[in-house]
């Protein structure tokens, strides 16, 4: 059982984050450039005009940012998400933010062909789905649009604080 290690191995961040954990914990927000890249990616994964609300509507990137820097989130995975966004930025020489839908599709499918890209896209997808379907108290699932789109709801009672008021 080496799920997480295998998942992260391509990024070579395991261990490194132990060294830089203190430094990382001081930071609470994504650098603007990486925020924009992640937003661009999430908007492509959850575009407007499907059976689901769009990433911009359900609040995917703000949720991702808050989640990554919360104390309950695995710091190795946080570093992996940041590293993947940087990789994508560098591969496309800073042009990713200017890509149209077709170019974005090709960029992400090309990235998916690499082990790291495949794992990274999967992780960003998981974070996006968490934003889509977690209780709105976490800042995603705006007006319960995610639940409504899938004809479901959360359990009762609903949380009244995030993370059981840690």
């Amino acid at each position: 059982m080496t799920t997480r290690r295998t998942f992260l191995s391509a990024s070579a961040v395991v261990g490194l984050s132990l060294v830089s954990a203190k430094e990382e914990s001081r930071q609470r927000e994504l650098p603007q450039e990486l925020y924009n890249i992640l937003q661009k990616v999430q908007n492509h994964l959850f575009p407007k005009g499907t059976l689901l609300p769009s990433a911009s509507l359900f609040g995917a990137t703000d949720f991702l940012q808050e989640t990554l820097y919360h104390s309950s989130y695995d710091r190795d995975i946080r570093n992996f998400v940041l590293r993947g966004a940087k990789e994508l930025r560098d591969t496309h020489k800073g042009e990713l933010l200017n890509y149209n839908e077709e170019q974005m599709e090709k960029a992400l499918r090309d990235f998916e062909e690499t082990k790291m890209g495949s794992n990274w896209l999967s992780r960003v997808m998981i974070l996006s789905i968490e934003a889509l379907l977690s209780d709105p108290i976490y800042g995603g699932n705006f007006q319960e649009l995610g639940w409504k789109a899938l004809e479901t709801t959360g359990g009762s009672p609903r949380p009244t604080s995030r993370y059981v008021a840690l």
């Binding site: 059982m1 080496t2 799920t3 997480r4 290690r5 395991v14 132990l18 954990a21 492509h44 994964l45 959850f46 575009p47 005009g49 499907t50 059976l51 689901l52 309950s72 989130y73 695995d74 710091r75 992400l108 998916e112 495949s118 896209l121 999967s122 997808m125 998981i126 789905i129 968490e130 889509l132 379907l133 977690s134 209780d135 976490y138 995610g146 639940w147 789109a149 899938l150 004809e151 479901t152 959360g154 359990g155 009762s156 009672p157 609903r158 949380p159 009244t160 995030r162 993370y163 059981v164 840690l166």
Partner: protein, 560 residues
């Protein structure tokens, strides 16, 4: 301060709560030490992100972890769990993981107490009979049934353990319409469907309210008190006696002892990291099985250089899990009548069915064989995990319209049913806990190293049962039927490590779960089990802990 408490219990899960209940009801002063916090009934919610996707009720793996040893390509490979993410913690809150259980409870069969005698030895397995019989534990199964509030229906079956009372204290919980189809299909195959006994109240009882069918039971705390957790069934009434002191955020890092008795426990406050020593007449370990062994081994001193209660060298040995696996199938709207599918989609009701037909088999794998129990249930209704499971098609990540379509279809056009097989995880020399002396946790304790190995026999049994389960699903008309069996252990079903027995050279505990080496030390959790039966352990843990509580009372009364 030696006599401030009659007993100190380390751990407030299924066994700790039950022992505390017995002692407090009998008038003894008890300190119940829980490493985690108290989450009250009214504080529980169905917060999937917190309870199911983050380490909120378990330690951060960078602070506290285990080392797992698995055989890969013929060599034992160590992986710390902060690296793998494979947590071996289960619910570090008051009441332990019993707060989070699904509550499908079963008694072990009388044969399970005499596995070696009835079924014989199996090469490569360290099978031993239990030190007590089913008949000795039966009164405590009955007591647990009453106190926990297990709902169900007594039904005849040749492989059901005999009962001393006519029926369960409460009727079964409400059932999904699928049970009619399930029962009909089983009967067509000559299989006997049984109503699952469940640690969930179907009717109000005192301060505890009946199940409100929230649709989110397993992995969550219960907001009505219906679920018979240690917190609801035992700790709350023990507190009401005035004899219980509940100490939360209190982590025991060491037991101090002389040659003949335990004298104190070293307790660290997990919030302030301040430590103190507490003393009592009796000390009871009631952790998870692997953690009890770790604490004993970490408590070595000049009197007990191999670890406390380890003169036999058996502490940590013969760790067992529940073997088996899972499988399932899918019902599609397009393949069913509208009203039948809509009935299937009604939320919150239980499947409540189990099968015992393959618990014991003759001439099955070449002789009389112990088989296992099967539980049927709907796929867990967690929205995020269900949605995540739709993200791939042919190893390609879906997104955009394709993902939306797949996710929408999965949620609205289909209903998944699952089965879980529970069969014996045979004890072997290659499944045990030792200390990882190279690694220490945030409290300075040596980390527990679990070598994990499943005996090939376990998988043979599970495969045989899975084939029968798939036939049931076929008869029901399910599609996409599958079985997923592996020798990877479920980390929430751990037992063994401190076997009980009659021979101090081969067992850690006597038949009363009392240490052979230090007579004022008891281990009340699942550590005592030499074999695990083919059921989830919880009812047996509750029952045995109530029995151990009675034994401790006799010791305190100087009658034992």
């Amino acid at each position: 301060m030696r006599d401030k408490y009659d007993a100190i219990i380390v751990g407030s899960g299924a066994s700790g709560g039950a022992v505390a209940y017995q002692l407090c009801k009998a008038g003894y002063r008890v300190a119940l030490l829980e490493k985690g916090r108290l989450i009250r009934r009214e504080e529980f919610s169905k917060d999937e992100l917190a309870y199911c996707r983050r380490d909120i009720v378990t330690p951060n793996l960078f602070d506290e972890y285990h080392t797992i040893e698995e055989k890969i390509d013929g060599a034992w490979v160590e992986t710390p769990t902060f690296e793998s993410g494979w947590s071996f913690w289960n619910g570090n809150i008051v009441g332990g993981s019993s707060n989070l259980m699904s509550g499908m409870l079963h008694r072990m069969h009388p044969d399970d107490f005499r596995l070696k005698t009835v079924y014989g030895e199996i090469e490569g397995a360290n099978i031993e009979d239990w030190a007590i019989s089913y008949e000795e534990l039966e009164p405590y199964y009955t007591l647990a049934e009453e106190l926990v509030g297990i709902s169900g229906k007594a039904q005849p079956h040749p492989y059901k353990a005999p009962r001393s009372t006519k029926d369960f204290p409460q009727a079964p919980t409400q059932e999904s319409a699928i049970t009619k189809l399930f029962d009909r299909s089983c009967k067509a195959l000559g299989v006997t469907p049984l109503i699952t006994p469940r640690a969930v109240l179907s009717q109000d009882r005192g301060e505890r309210l009946a199940c409100y069918y929230s649709n989110f039971c397993g992995s969550y705390g219960c907001s009505s008190g219906a679920k018979g957790s240690s917190r609801e069934a035992f700790i709350a009434p023990a507190l009401a006696t005035g004899n219980l002191t509940l100490l939360t955020n209190s982590h025991v890092t060491k037991l101090h002892s002389t040659q003949k008795e335990v004298t104190e426990v070293e307790v660290v406050n997990t919030l302030t990291l301040a430590s103190q020593k507490l003393s009592a007449k009796i000390f009871v370990l009631a952790l998870q099985a692997h953690e009890s062994s770790r604490l004993l081994l970490n408590s070595a001193n000049k009197f007990h250089p191999q670890g406390l209660s380890n003169s036999s060298g058996e502490v940590g040995k013969n760790l067992i899990f529940s073997a088996g696996g899972a499988g399932g199938g899918t019902f599609y709207r397009k393949s069913m009548k509208k009203k039948d599918f809509e009935a299937l989609m009604q939320r919150g009701l239980f499947v409540n069915r189990s099968l015992l037909d393959w618990y014991i088999q003759k001439n099955w794998l070449g002789g009389k064989e112990k088989g296992g129990l099967v539980e049927f249930m709907f796929e867990h209704q967690n929205n995020i995990s269900r949605a995540i499971s739709t993200r791939y098609s042919n190893s390609r990540l879906l997104w955009g319209k394709e993902l939306a379509q797949a996710m929408h279809s999965s949620f609205t056009q289909s209903k998944k049913i699952r089965f879980e097989i529970f069969n014996d995880w045979l004890p072997t020399d290659d499944c045990f806990l030792s200390l990882d002396t190279k690694r220490k946790d945030k409290y300075g304790m040596s980390v527990g190293k679990l070598r994990i190995h499943g005996h090939p026999h376990d998988m043979s049994v599970a495969k045989s049962i899975a084939k029968e389960c798939e036939k049931v699903l076929q008869e029901m008309g399910a599609e996409d039927i599958y079985s997923s069996l592996s020798s990877t252990p479920p980390q929430n079903l751990i037992a063994g490590g401190c076997r009980f027995g009659d021979d101090p050279k081969r067992a850690v505990l006597n038949k009363n779960c009392q240490s052979f080496d230090t007579a004022n030390l008891f281990v009340a959790d699942a550590s005592f089990m030499p074999t695990g039966g083919s059921t989830p352990y919880t009812w047996t843990i509750y029952a045995n802990a109530l029995r151990v509580g009675d034994m401790i009372i006799k010791v305190l009364q100087r009658k034992l």
